[in-house]
Symmetry: none
Subunit: 417 residues, 2 copies
C-alpha cells in the first residue's frame, strides 16, 4: 500500500510550528509496511484542500490527514473530505455527550462551533481521542482510504497508535505485526550508551536496535516483526539479555516510561515515602513525580526554597551554612545534605531528596552556571551527596539536574549504590 | 510572489528526520513577503522529482528545494532541475578548487562523485556554502524561479540567510515584508475567544487575524505586509485597538510569551513577592514561574503539600478544616484560602497563591475529578478563592489549573479584579 501524508494548517506554512506529525506518521506507516511517497502541507483553505485531495488520490491509496478537526472556522479537513466524497456528516454520540458533559460541568452552554468536533464523515469509523475532544475518522471510498487525525501531537499520536493502527492492520490483513521493547536508561548520556552498545548496533539486522533521545534521558528500541508476542519475544531474547548485561546500572525499565514513573512505582511497591527540597529546579522534580497517578501514597510533599530564609525556616538549614564569613553557601554539598535531611524531617518520610545549584543565566555566590549539588537522605542511613557540573541553558540544566536526582533515588531503591 | 517548498530526501519519508528546514524556510519567506501555499516532501527518485517540479510550477512562481545536492547517487535535485529545464551543467570554479584543496589536504584523490557538489545548472547564480561543500543554485526560467539549497540545516540556513535572501530581495525589488503582533490571552478558551472576535475574523483581509492554541492558553496573530514597521503599525492599529477593547480582561501580552513570564515581570516591576502552596498541581506552578530568569527576586518559595500533615505543619492549615466530621476537607474553598495565607505567612511575601483539587484519575474525598479551588492571599487585602470544574486528563487538569492560578494573580497585579 502507498500512503500520502497531508498536514493541514496555515501555521505550518507560516513556519510557526515544526511538522513533527509527518515524521511520526512516516515512521509509524513504515513500521506497518506502508510506503510513503509524498508528504504535503496545505493551508486552511477549502479550494486548495480539495485540490490536494484530488492530487493525493492520484498518487496514493491511503491519505493520512493531520489537523483541521478542531472547533474553529479554520478547521476544514472534515468538511473538505466530506465535500470531495459528496457525503454528509453524522454526529458521534459518545463524543457529543462528552462535549455536553464537559460544558455542563463548566456551567457553560455548548457553543455551536464545538459541536463540529463530534462530527463524522458519513460512514466513517470513529477513532477515539482519549487526550482531546475531536473524534478521528477512518473510511474507505472508491478504492482510496482516508484517515483524519487531529493536529495536536498529544492527540494525534495516541489516536494513531491505537485505533488508527488497528484499522490499518485490518485493512492490510497483516499477519506479522511489529513488536518492540523500549529500553529506558538514566544516568548515562546518548553517546556513552552508544559506546556500550556500538557493536550490537553495527551488527543489527533482526531484531533492529534504534537509539532514541528522550526528555533528559535516553532509550533504545529493540524491534522485530512476528505473528505474535511469544514469537517476537523469542527472536529478541538474546539481544535483550546482552543489552541488560552491559547496561545494568542505567537500565531502569523495559517499557516506555520516564524514570519518575519507575521511581514512584518502586516507592509504592516498597511502601516507602519521599519528600523533596528543591532550589534551582524550582519544583520540577515535584512536578515530575506528581505526574504519576497514585503518587500521593508515596510522595508526601516538597519545599521549593528559593531564598535562604525559606531554607532556614521550612527546611531547618543552619544559618551558618548559608551566610557569613566562610560559609559554604546555598549551593554547596553541606547545604544539599541539610536540605535533604530537612525535607525528610518535615514530612517524616523514608527518603529526602534535595537539589541546589546554579541554573543560570547568571552565576550566583560566585559559583559557575551548571554547578549543582544533589542530596539523598535515607532513614537509618548516612546522607549522600553528589556534585554535578552540567552544561546547556537554564531549562536544560534544570531538566538534567531533576532527572539525575531521580536516578540517584533509583540507585538507592534498587540497591545499586 | 507565491512559493512552494520542496524538501527532497527519502529519509524524510521514512521519518528518520524531522523536516525543520520547511519551517525555517516558511518563516524566512513569509518575512520577505512571499506566500507559501504548499510544502512538499518527495524521495530521492528522478521520476517523482520531475513530476513534483511540474506540479509545483503550476502552483507557484518560486520553487525552493532543500536536499539532494550532495555527492551520492541519491542526490538528484540538481540533475532533475537541469533535466526539467533541458539545461546542461557547468563547474563552479571556486568550489571545485575548494574540493581539490580539501582532498589534497587529506592526501586523498578527489573522487568523481564529489565533483558533483561543484556543479551548477547552466546559467544559475551560485549561492555560497560557507559551512559545507555543495554549492547552491539560484535561477529563473520561463517565469519560474528556482532555489536549490543543501539539506543539512547547518549548510542550508546560512545559505538562505545570506546569498539566497539577497537574490530574492533583488528579484522582488522593494518588496513588502511581513510584520505581525502576537497577542496572548489567558482565562479564556479558544472558541470563546473566537466568539468574541468572530466578526473581525470573518471580515479580515488586511491585516489578517489568526488564532492559535498555546500550552493551556490561546493566542491571536495579527499580521500585515508593509515596507517598514511604522507603516505596518499604522495598518494594524485599528484592528489591535478593537481586539484590545474586546479582550481587556484576558489579553496579557502583545508578544509571544506565556503568562508566567508576564506575571513575573509585573511582580519584579512592582517590587512585590510571591509564595506558592500547591496540592494537585504538585509544583507545576512553581516550575513555571522559575523558568523565568530572574524569578528569584520575586518568587520566594513554595510548598507542595500532598498530605494533610504537610498542609498543617508547613502551611498552618487548621486540622479542623482537613479532617473530622463535617470538615470541608483538603479540596475546599476554606482550605484553598488557608493554604494561600499559609504560603504568604511562611515566606512573608506580598502574595500567596494556592491550588488544591482532584487531578484524577481517581476522585478523592468523594469529590469529582477536575474539581479545583484556587486561593489568592494578598498583603492588606481579604483572601479570594475561585472554584473550577476542569475537564481532560490528569496532565490537562494540572496544566489548566496552573495557568488559571497565574491568571488570577495577573488580574490582581493589573487591578482587573
Amino acid at each position: 500500500m502507498r500512503a500520502e501524508i497531508v498536514s493541514v494548517g496555515t501555521e505550518l506554512l507560516l513556519g510557526q510550528i515544526v511538522n513533527t506529525n509527518a515524521q511520526f506518521l512516516s515512521r509509524g506507516l513504515a513500521e506497518l509496511g506502508i510506503d510513503v511517497y509524498y508528504q504535503t502541507v496545505v493551508g486552511d483553505n477549502m479550494d486548495r484542500l480539495l485540490k490536494t485531495i484530488e492530487l493525493a488520490r492520484g498518487r496514493a491509496d491511503l491519505l493520512v490527514f493531520t489537523g483541521g478537526l478542531g472547533p474553529t472556522m479554520d478547521d476544514l479537513t472534515r468538511d473538505a473530505v466530506a465535500a470531495y466524497l459528496r457525503r454528509g456528516m453524522e454526529e458521534h454520540e459518545p463524543t457529543m455527550r462528552k462535549l455536553e458533559e464537559m460544558f455542563a460541568g463548566r456551567g457553560a452552554a455548548l457553543i455551536e462551533s464545538n459541536r463540529k468536533q463530534a462530527l463524522l464523515v458519513e460512514g466513517a469509523t470513529p477513532l477515539r481521542n482519549n487526550t482531546g475532544l475531536a473524534i478521528g475518522n477512518a473510511l474507505s471510498a472508491d478504492g482510496t482510504h482516508y484517515l483524519l487525525l487531529p493536529g495536536p501531537p498529544r492527540e494525534m499520536k495516541p489516536m494513531f497508535e491505537n485505533d488508527a493502527s488497528a484499522w490499518l492492520r485490518e485493512l492490510l490483513g497483516q499477519a506479522d505485526t511489529l513488536h518492540s521493547v523500549m529500553m529506558r536508561f538514566a544516568g548515562i548520556g546518548e553517546s556513552a550508551l552508544e559506546d556500550l552498545l556500538i557493536d550490537l548496533v553495527r551488527e543489527q539486522s533482526d531484531p533492529t536496535i534504534a537509539p532514541y533521545a528522550k526528555e533528559g534521558e535516553v532509550a533504545v528500541r529493540v524491534s522485530t516483526k512476528a505473528p505474535n508476542a511469544e514469537e517476537a519475544q523469542r527472536k529478541m531474547e538474546s539481544t535483550l539479555v546482552e543489552i541488560r548485561r552491559r547496561t545494568d546500572r542505567f537500565l531502569y525499565a523495559e517499557e516506555d516510561i520516564p524514570i519518575e514513573t519507575e521511581v514512584m512505582r518502586l516507592l509504592l511497591r516498597q511502601r516507602r515515602t519521599l519528600a523533596l527540597a528543591e532550589s534551582c529546579t524550582g519544583g520540577m522534580v515535584a512536578e515530575m513525580v506528581t505526574t504519576v497517578p497514585g503518587s500521593a501514597d508515596a510522595f508526601l510533599g516538597g519545599v521549593v526554597s528559593y531564598t535562604n530564609a525559606v531554607k532556614r525556616d521550612l527546611l531547618g538549614v543552619p544559618e551558618g551554612l548559608l551566610e557569613g564569613e566562610g560559609a559554604p553557601g546555598a549551593v554547596s554539598e553541606e547545604t544539599a545534605a541539610a536540605m535533604a535531611e530537612g525535607a525528610r524531617r518535615f514530612a517524616d518520610s523514608d527518603f529526602g531528596v534535595s537539589v541546589t545549584g546554579v541554573a543560570g543565566p547568571a552565576s550566583s555566590e560566585g559559583k559557575p552556571v551548571g554547578l549543582v549539588y544533589l542530596g539523598l537522605a535515607e532513614r537509618g542511613k548516612p546522607t549522600r551527596t553528589e556534585k554535578l557540573q552540567l552544561s546547556g541553558d537554564r531549562e536544560g540544566i534544570r531538566l538534567r539536574a531533576s532527572k539525575r536526582a531521580l536516578y540517584r533515588l533509583w540507585l538507592a531503591l534498587t540497591g545499586r549504590e
